[in-house]
Amino acid sequence: METVIIQYNAGNIQSVLYALERLGVNALVTDDSEKIKSATRVIFPGVGEASTAMQYLKERQLDQLIVSLKQPVLGICLGMQLMCAYSEENNTDCLGIFNEQVKQFKPDTISVKVPQMGWNTITRLQSSLFKGVDENSYAYFVHGYYASIGTHTIAQTNYILDYSSALHKDNFYGVQFHPEKSAKVGEQIIQNFLSI
């Protein structure tokens, strides 16, 4: 019974691994499809650029594998965006688990910085992923693209506009923020995912 972190060419994997360790879970970091398939839970992290990451996943047939998973899967940041249908970041067709679109933040004024970097609130929380997490809790975000609001939205955040800070469909979950860097709130969310 194992939690697996999918290893690919988008960084941030160590932080997720250590966050799990702090919760007493020793996860396996791997790109081995058999190990991913047989895992109890799968975490799909990522910081980076969408088209390069998708290319990498396709070359290793990890794209088809991720879509076919039946156990709980948590996409983080770029991982969540790649689980959407399409990203404006270099016009990339993504995995299509969520039909939401990923678009670029376009501020009207230079005083609004892109990427968004820092702590912002998560609201309209739904699903057991947010059990014990208060409305308007703070989470840590770093991103220049956002997922639009749609039928799979289970949390919203406002930066320039309202967007999806978390998505859920069947066994697939995605969070735009970094739970592994979001202090106690993030730990609670990871713990909740581990209890699903």
């Binding site: 160590q14 932080s15 250590y18 650029e49 970097m117 860097k181």
Partner: protein
């Protein structure tokens, strides 16, 4: 709403914090991991570690320390000091650092900003600038920890660095650093209003009002300080409560 960030800075030498600290809760005032954990618990939004080790062993000592911090700390942290090559960055990120900060090496070889941004993403490349306002009322870039003056204007260098891919600017005013008389509001606001990346203001924060000013008049996205936190002249929870009362978006 995106909040303003409060960032304590720890100076590191040979894996230990350089300036002693004055916390009863801490058993070993020189242990950066213990101090970092306390700041994280108190509500610091991020941490910055600046390594000033000069020995040949520095890389190993620093990567070991970063690894320990990453295991313990559940908020983002930046590591700076002596980073010159992609390999330096790679080792620190692999050990769990979220961002790296570069200063003199980037000024002497600006192409590293571009290569770091391309290989690791702009979000983890912080350009630190030591700035000094001269008698001609212009702000100039200083190097080597403030010992070497250049003829480059801060606003020009910051713009160049952002164009090359720097994702954040950590601006330290040498005129204000250590004075506890407040941050450099004019140059901070100037950079913040003309550049599309977050500006972290550093140098001069001595009381709550100074932090309020740097977020309102200085338009800073984040404020960094060291000794006022280490010596408990200002406690992070008190500072954040004050800013919240003053209608500054802040994480409590």
């Amino acid at each position: 709403m995106l909040t303003k960030r409060i960032i304590p800075c720890l100076d590191i030498k040979d894996g230990r914090t350089v300036k002693g600290v004055n916390f009863e809760q801490i058993k070993d005032a020189g242990d950066p991991v213990e101090l970092a954990a306390l700041y994280a618990k108190q509500g610091a939004d991020e941490l910055v570690f600046l390594d000033i080790t000069a020995t040949v062993e520095r890389r190993k000592t620093l990567s070991d320390l970063v690894n320990k911090i990453a295991h313990k700390i559940n908020i983002p942290f930046t590591v700076g000091g002596g980073i010159k090559t992609e390999e330096d960055v790679s080792i620190l990120l692999q050990n769990g650092a979220d961002k790296i900060s570069i200063n003199t090496a980037a000024f002497n070889n600006p192409s590293i900003i571009k290569s770091f941004a391309k290989n690791f993403g702009s979000q983890c490349v912080v350009l630190a600038i030591d700035a000094k306002c001269e008698e001609d009322e212009n702000w100039y870039v200083y190097l080597n920890g403030g010992r070497v003056k250049t003829n480059k204007l801060v606003k020009d260098w910051a713009k160049e660095a952002v164009d090359l891919g720097a994702g954040e600017i950590l601006l330290t005013s040498m005129n204000h650093d250590g004075t506890k008389q407040g941050f450099a509001l004019d140059i901070t606001a100037q950079l913040s209003e003309t550049l599309p990346v977050p500006i972290i203001a550093s140098g001069g924060g001595g009381n709550e009002q100074h932090f309020l000013d740097v977020f309102t008049k200085g338009k800073a996205d984040a404020a960094l300080a060291a000794s006022i936190f280490h010596y408990k002249e200002l406690a992070i929870p008190d500072l954040k409560r004050y800013l919240h009362q003053q209608q500054i978006p802040i994480r409590l």
